[in-house]
Symmetry: C2
Subunit: 219 residues, 2 copies
DNA sequence: CCTGCCATGGGGGGATCCCCTGAGCGGCCC
DNA sequence: GGGCCGCTCAGGGGATCCCCCCATGGCAGG
């Protein structure tokens, strides 16, 4: 940890590479640079850096899809390589794509050298790092994954245990007779339960019930 | 940024607080400590720290729900306060809960003082930081959010423009005649489109269609 | 003991869904 | 010009959905 961290900078602007190289502090050693995807792969293979600083808008992805770069680089290298994405953009689509391509962090180019150095250390340790404007987005998205499940409890416990069973099956698209077969009860009983569920949740059809359950991730 | 960052440590183990205070580097100034939720609120109000280092498993949440603490603290303070969660646990449920409570980062107690210092600086700048074991989890969850949206395009463009229109309305729970009124076409035409959609997507009912669209966040 | 809630079941009926067959019209491509 | 496809519309029919009425038995609370 006290040793310097070896990084490779991949960016198509040489001035930006120089600036980054100058601003990174003493604990980060730049062992290579590349301006495009093919040379990046070569440099990374040769130098085996701890972290790759990767510009999001690399040319070479082929046409308007200016961002196939990460995936290509990623797919051409051992998974042990760690990426930290640099971008002028804070668009949601860019963030998602880069993260899916395997980057462990995403910071904007407005960051100072000290901030970049800190982020480099963090991802070298395996941490995930996101710049301020992106952090909110990522956290919101993450929280949403399991989030609404919590608030649904309030309305959900107004249903009896049996009604909840029926509700889940109905919301998944089961027909009444399928629910009946699944729970070993009569179709008429299923109808009674569904009516109760719709009344208690103030819904008017099984379609709305599906949407309701879907929003709350009860499926 | 070159000034020291003022932090408050909230943890029910005094030895851990002392260790953390000793291990944090010179750029971080500990201006207060607390061992439980009520005193934490008081201390934070008085000292107005830049960052609050918060133990996840604080007692005082009331009974087995050992984690209501963050929400209580969070709800009692201005939203400008930034939280960094510390935990021995890397359970998914803990992470989700803490993030939803408003923490900007989550690191494990196995981290060194240097690592904690670095994380404190990061969240003070507005970054989001996650420890190695948690990073993978968070990134996976995040990627999943928008991941399926991308792959849905493949199946989605097999539908004609009109079919997609009808599909979206149907998936939202519109009745056939409502779709017909919305699109100024006959109910029979709607039926035809729905049949095509179901056939092309290999589904058998509008309920499954709702679930299909919901999973891909097309609503 | 009576009232309320829950789970179970039934009859009936109108609305809706889903599929079948069939058809006309306009555009695109070879 | 002749297929091929998409958009439009129609009739009919069986299955399903959702509501109305109703009843029985169990179980908890006032």
């Amino acid at each position: 940890m006290t040793e310097s961290i070896r990084v490779v900078i991949v960016d198509d602007h040489s001035i930006f590479r120089s600036g980054l190289r100058a601003d990174l502090d003493a604990t980060v050693e730049v062992v290579g640079e590349a301006a495009d995807v093919p040379s990046a792969i070569t440099v990374i293979r040769e130098t085996q850096p701890d972290v790759v600083l990767l510009d999001v808008h690399l040319p070479g992805g082929g046409g308007d899809d200016a961002a196939g770069g990460e995936a290509v680089i990623r797919g051409s290298l051992p998974t042990t390589t760690t990426f930290l994405a640099l971008s002028v953009s804070d668009a949601a689509a860019d963030v998602v794509r880069v993260i899916r391509a395997g980057a462990r962090g995403y910071i904007t180019k407005g960051s100072s050298g000290i901030e970049v150095s800190r982020a480099v250390h963090a991802v070298a340790d395996g941490d995930a790092v996101f710049s301020p404007r992106l952090a909110g987005f990522v956290l919101d998205a993450f929280g949403a994954v399991a989030g609404e499940t919590a608030t649904a409890t309030d309305e959900l416990d107004r249903l009896s245990a049996r009604e909840q069973e029926v509700m889940r099956l109905i919301a998944r698209g089961y027909a009444y007779k399928e629910v009946a077969a699944e729970l070993f009860i009569s179709i008429k009983t299923v109808e009674t339960h569904v009516s109760s569920v719709l009344r208690k949740l103030q819904l008017s059809s099984r379609h709305e019930l599906t949407a309701w359950a879907s929003e709350r991730r009860l499926l």
